[in-house]
């Protein structure tokens, strides 16, 4: 099991650690071994069956989904994946519930230390329905659940849960996405010298900090709608010695002036927002960017760039993991979404970036010189050899 490396780490018993180890191992089995098993079953049984009936191969993800749904292997894969997802959070609740007082005390102590960044929360802030009404990825309580004054337990649930969930594939500090991408941008665009960077939907700031690491001169801000995650993010950044400014803010209505940032980033964020919200968020990113600034979103790859099977595989979450906006987001064409917000099509860019943690610095840095390959069974999948997809545009 991946142990958190900062002072907010929960104290866990031997048995609690063992349960977490088991869940991580179960997830690795389902997402690596069973996923490749399911592909073999699809190729040998499902796809030929579809061809016999329709006289052609499935044309898209939903057709693959419909064809594979009655298959017993699919049912076991799916049922076990839901079980594993649920067990991720269930493995965190007992030690978290027991340690809530200690967690608050530690956070309070951390915020009394020399303030590196800041935390700005809003009284009476309205959390959008797409966060307040569902438990995204089966995480009971979601990002914004609060159970006492000054609560930060939901942030701890996410941080500790992510450590179990990722079975090492999101890096030792759960920041592989941030480190891989911020570092890649620094290598690829040496002329870019950002003074101000904004991370949208930053949750606990686990990928926000990488921008500060890669661009230490920059002023780095993170926004989110969920107060408990932001309180935790602030304490976590204090513990890690990073100066980050966290604000409770909706990315659809940023409270920053026009042309005030050089980089606007997000990771694993847009797919949790309905289409209308995504359009507003990209338009807001355009507004707050300085001319010549860079917008970049790390995301799951768009369906238009995937084979029908890969599209089905990634859409699984939308159907079964309480991610209702995941498929609609991935059905969008990123070029037109950016164009609609005012970005010129010629300024559009997209990358597939090898995980620096998985591939090591050499392969990762060499990728900065290669054209992107989006349709790979590694892209956007938490699997051995993971690659991160991102898209965006220059203003």
């Amino acid at each position: 099991m991946l142990e958190l490396k900062h002072e907010l780490k929960l104290d866990k018993s031997r048995d609690e650690k063992a349960r977490m180890n088991f869940v991580s191992g179960l997830r690795a089995h389902v997402l690596n071994d069973m996923a490749s098993g399911m592909r073999a079953v699809y190729d040998a049984e499902v796809e030929p069956g579809f061809r016999r009936a329709a006289g052609r191969a499935p044309a898209n993800g939903p057709e693959v989904h419909k064809a594979i749904k009655p298959n017993e292997y699919f049912k076991f894969y799916s049922s076990l994946r839901v079980t594993a997802q649920d067990m991720v959070w269930q493995s965190v609740f007992p030690p978290l519930e027991r340690n809530r007082t200690q967690l608050k005390d530690r956070a309070a102590k951390l915020s009394r230390r020399k303030k590196l960044g800041s935390l700005t929360l809003k009284e009476g802030f309205e959390v959008p329905r797409y966060v307040s009404a569902i438990d995204v990825h089966l995480m009971a309580g979601n990002y914004d659940g609060e159970y006492e004054a000054e609560d930060l337990a939901a942030g701890a649930l996410y941080d500790n849960g992510l450590a179990v969930f990722s079975f090492g594939l999101m890096g030792q500090n759960l920041d592989d996405i941030g480190q891989s991408i911020a570092g890649f941008i620094r290598l690829k665009f040496p002329q870019l010298k950002p003074a101000k960077i904004l991370d949208l939907g930053c949750t606990i700031g686990h990928n926000t900090g990488s921008w500060k690491d890669q661009f230490p001169q920059a002023e780095v801000h993170g926004i989110d709608v969920a107060a408990p995650c932001l309180r935790y993010a602030h304490a976590r950044a204090q513990a890690q010695g990073r100066a980050i400014h966290f604000h409770q803010m909706n990315a659809e209505q940023l409270e920053f002036p026009d042309a005030s940032f050089d980089v606007v980033f997000s990771s694993m964020f847009l797919h949790e927002v309905p289409k209308k919200g995504i359009e507003k968020i990209i338009a807001e990113a355009y507004r707050v960017l300085k001319p010549g600034g860079l917008m970049l979103h790390m995301e799951l790859p768009p369906n238009g760039q995937l084979s029908p099977y890969e599209a089905f595989y990634l859409d699984w979450d939308s159907a079964y993991n309480n991610e209702p906006f995941y498929k609609p987001f991935r059905d969008l064409d990123p070029v037109s979404v950016c164009a609609k917000a005012g970005f010129k099509s010629k300024n559009f860019l997209q990358f597939v970036i090898p995980s620096v943690g998985w591939y090591g610095e050499k392969v990762w840095s060499e990728a900065a010189t290669r054209p992107p390959e989006v349709d790979s069974d590694k892209t956007g999948r938490l699997t051995d050899g993971i690659m991160w997809y991102c898209f965006g545009a220059w203003k």
Binding site: R19, N21, F76, D86, Q90, L96, G145, Y147
Partner: protein, 135 residues
């Protein structure tokens, strides 16, 4: 605002995949049990490692260990009890069948249709009555 326990149930429901959702639920139970079995193994491994560190055990001593004949016999009895209790649910049907034969040894076998009709009134069978009297 006082402190409430964190909610552990998922809003928005949980998907089921098998024709009978009970299969998904039982699969979940099996996996949770698997997790507890693993947890015990890790705990035992920790115990063993501590014993080795403190000199109470030599490395590999458990793997090379054999029980004495007396210990082996005691364990064999316990193992049988364990296995019997694991499959107790299947035994219920056998006991019911044996009870039926014992009650009416001379009667010829009932036709299948009659036996089927007898199933819904099982609540009034002697087995339930026996269970009640045991309480």
């Amino acid at each position: 605002m006082s402190r409430e326990p964190m909610r552990r149930t998922i809003r928005g429901g949980r998907p089921y995949f098998f024709a009978d959702p009970a299969i998904d639920k039982i699969l979940n139970m099996v996996v949770v049990l698997g997790s507890e079995v693993w947890t015990l193994r890790e705990r035992l491994a920790a115990f063993e490692a501590i014993q080795v560190r403190q000199g109470g055990l030599a490395a590999g001593e458990i793997d090379a260990f054999d029980f004495s004949p007396e210990q082996e016999a005691k364990l064999a009895a316990e193992r049988k009890e364990f296995i019997d209790s694991l499959f107790r649910i299947l035994q219920e049907q056998v006991e019911e069948a044996r009870g039926r034969t014992a009650r009416a040894p001379q009667k010829p076998a009932e036709p299948v249709a009659a036996r089927k009709r007898a199933v819904p009134v099982r609540g009034k069978s002697s087995k339930t009555a026996k269970r009640r009297s045991r309480r």
